[in-house]
C-alpha cells in the first residue's frame, strides 16, 4: 500500500544574506508517522519547520501540505490547512499577556464557534492532557517554569485537534521523568488520533521512544532518512558520531530495556 504523503518538500533553498542554510532539500512525510529531525545546532531545523508552516519564505523550491502549496495557496485555502496543523515553537512563544487557559483557548476562539463553556472545558482537558496541574490554568507564562511553558505550548498546539503536529525540541529543558511522559504522550496521541508528527529534537531517548523514522539534516540538505537501526549503519562522520556516541549507547540500552 502506497502511503499518503502529507508534507512534500522539493528543492527547498533558504538563505540569510550570504549564509545558505538549505539547498535542494527534499523531504516527504507520510500520514500517521512520527518523523524525527536531527542535526547539529544551527543546521536549520527550526528554519525548515518555519518554511513548512509558511513563516519563512524560501528562496526557491516548493512546500506542499495536504497537497496545498503553502507559498501560493489563496488565504481561504491556507486557513483550512492551518486549522489542520498545530505548531509548538522552540521557546514556547506563548502570548505573554494571556493566562495559560486563555492561550489554549486562543486558537479555538479564532477558528471555531464553540460556546465559552465548552471552549473552557476543552482547554482544561488539553492542559490536563499535557500534564500541567490545574493550578497552572490561571497563571501567566512569566509565572511558569521553563518545562511548564513547553507543556503549555504543546497544549496550545493541540487545541484544535490537529492532524499534523510540529514540535521544536519539545523535551529540551524537561526533567527526565517529564521528558519520558512527554514521549509517551506524543506516542499515545499518535496512536489514538492518527497524528502525523514533525519532531525536531536532540534527545536520543525521545528518538528511540517516539520516532518511526528519522531524517538527518546536514550539509544543507536531508542527508538520509530511515529508522534508527538503518541510520546506525550509515557511513557519514556526523551520523556515525551521533548514533554511536556514548549517549547514543545509553539511550539504545534504555530503549531495549
Amino acid at each position: 500500500m502506497a502511503r499518503e504523503v502529507v508534507i512534500e518538500v522539493r528543492g527547498l533553498k533558504n538563505q540569510f544574506g550570504p549564509n545558505v542554510i538549505h539547498e535542494d532539500l527534499d523531504l516527504d512525510i507520510y500520514r500517521g508517522e512520527v518523523l524525527g529531525i536531527v542535526g547539529g545546532s544551527g543546521t536549520g531545523k527550526s528554519v525548515l519547520l518555519r518554511s513548512i508552516v509558511g513563516l519563512q519564505a524560501p528562496r526557491a523550491g516548493s512546500v506542499r501540505v495536504f497537497g496545498v502549496d503553502v507559498r501560493q495557496a489563496p488565504r481561504a485555502e491556507m486557513a483550512r490547512v492551518e486549522n489542520r496543523w498545530g505548531v509548538m515553537f522552540q521557546d514556547g512563544a506563548l502570548f505573554s499577556s494571556l493566562t495559560v487557559r486563555e492561550n489554549v483557548e486562543a486558537p479555538m476562539r479564532e477558528r471555531t464557534d464553540l460556546d465559552p463553556e465548552t471552549r473552557r472545558a476543552l482547554a482544561d482537558l488539553k492542559i490536563a492532557m499535557v500534564g500541567l496541574p490545574p493550578k497552572a490554568r490561571t497563571l501567566f507564562p512569566s509565572e511558569l517554569s521553563g518545562g511548564m511553558r513547553k507543556r503549555a505550548g504543546l497544549a496550545r498546539a493541540l487545541a484544535l485537534d490537529p492532524e499534523i503536529l510540529f514540535l521544536d525540541e519539545p523535551t529540551a529543558g524537561l526533567d527526565p521523568i517529564g521528558a519520558s511522559e512527554f514521549d509517551a504522550l506524543i506516542r499515545n496521541l499518535q496512536t489514538s488520533l492518527g497524528l502525523t508528527v514533525f519532531l525536531v529534537t536532540h534527545d536520543l531517548d525521545t528518538l528511540h521512544a517516539t520516532c518511526d523514522r528519522i531524517a538527518v539534516l546536514a550539509e544543507r540538505k536531508v542527508l538520509v532518512t530511515g529508522t534508527i537501526r538503518e541510520l546506525m549503519e550509515v557511513d557519514h562522520p556526523w551520523v556515525r558520531d551521533y548514533f554511536h556516541g556514548p549517549r547514543a549507547h545509553a539511550a539504545l540500552l534504555a530503549a531495549e530495556g
Binding site: 502570548f95 505573554s96 499577556s97 472545558a121 476543552l122 482544561d124 482537558l125 488539553k126 492542559i127 490536563a128 492532557m129 490545574p134 501567566f140 507564562p141 512569566s142 509565572e143 493541540l158 485537534d161 499515545n188 496521541l189 496512536t191 489514538s192 488520533l193 492518527g194
Partner: protein, 327 residues
Amino acid sequence: MGAVEALDTAGAWAILSAQKRAEAGGRPFEIVNLSEAHRHLLATVANAMPEPEPRRRTIPGRPGDGLAQLGQEVAGGLRGSLDSMAFFGQVVAHLGGLLIHPRRLRLTPLVHHMQEAGWNAVPIVTLMGFLIGIVLAFQGSTQLKAFGAEVYVVDLVAISILRELGILLTAIIVAGRSGSAFTAAIGSMKMREEIDAMRVLGLDPIDRLVLPRLIALVILLPVLGFIASMAGLVGGALMAWIDLGITPGMFRTQLLADTDVNHAIIGLVKAPFFAVIIAVIGCHQGMQVSGNAESLGSHTSRSVVQAIFLVIVVDALFSVFFAVWGL
C-alpha cells in the same frame, strides 16, 4: 460506536461528559463497539478529564467598596512615588561613583544615545520652535495693534520663548520621543531577562543602561532647548516682518535693548532638571516592566505621562522660585 469513522479529543470529551452526567443522574450509559484506536483515545481523555471547577460566587458590592478602592489607589500611588525616589537615589549614588571613577563611563553608548535622543531630535524641535514663534508673533500683534504698541511684540515673543516655551515644549517633545524609547528599550530587555543576565554577569544595569541615557539627555536637552528658542525667535521675527513691517534689523535692535539675557539663562537653567526627570522616569518605568507585553505598553505610556506632568510641575515651581527672588 461502530459507525463512528473519526473521533478527536473534543468528541471524546463530549462522550465522556455525557457519560458523567448520565451516571450522576442514575441513568445507564454504555459505550459499545469501540474500535481499538478509539478505546485508546477515550482512555487518554478520561485520564485527563478536568474536574469541573467549583463555581466561585461573586460577592455583591458593598457600600464601602468604592472608598476602599480609592484608599488602595492612593496607597499604590504613594508607594509608586516612593519607589521612584528610591530609584532616583540609586541613580544619584551611581553618578557619585562615576565622579570618583570617571573611567567607568562607557563612551560608546553615551555617544549613541546623544545621537538618538539629541541629534535626531533637532529637526522636529527646530520646526516646533519656529512655528511657536510664528503663532506668538501673530497672536501678539493682533492684540497689541489695538493699543498701537506693535513694537512690543518683540518683547512678547522673546520673553515667552526664551524664558518658558522654548525649553518647556522641547522637554515635552523629548519626553514623548526619548522617554518612551528608554522605557520600551529597557522594558523589553527586562522581559527577555537580559537585565537579570547583566546582573549575574556583574554588569550593573544602572551603570550600563541608565547613566548613559541620563548623561546624554542632561548634556543635550539644554542644546535642544537653545535651538528651539532660536528657531522661535526667527519665526517671531519673520512674522513680525510680514504682519507688522518690523524689519529683522529693528527686531534685533529692540531685542537687544529690551530683553535681559537673564531670561535666556533662566530658560536654560531649567533644562538639565527636565532632562533628569525624563531620563529617570523613563528608565525607572522600563525597569518596572514585568513578564508580559501588556505591561510594556502600560509602563511606556505611564512614563510619558508622568514625565510630562512632572516637567510642568517643576516648571511651575521654578516660576514661583524666580518670582520670589525677583529675577
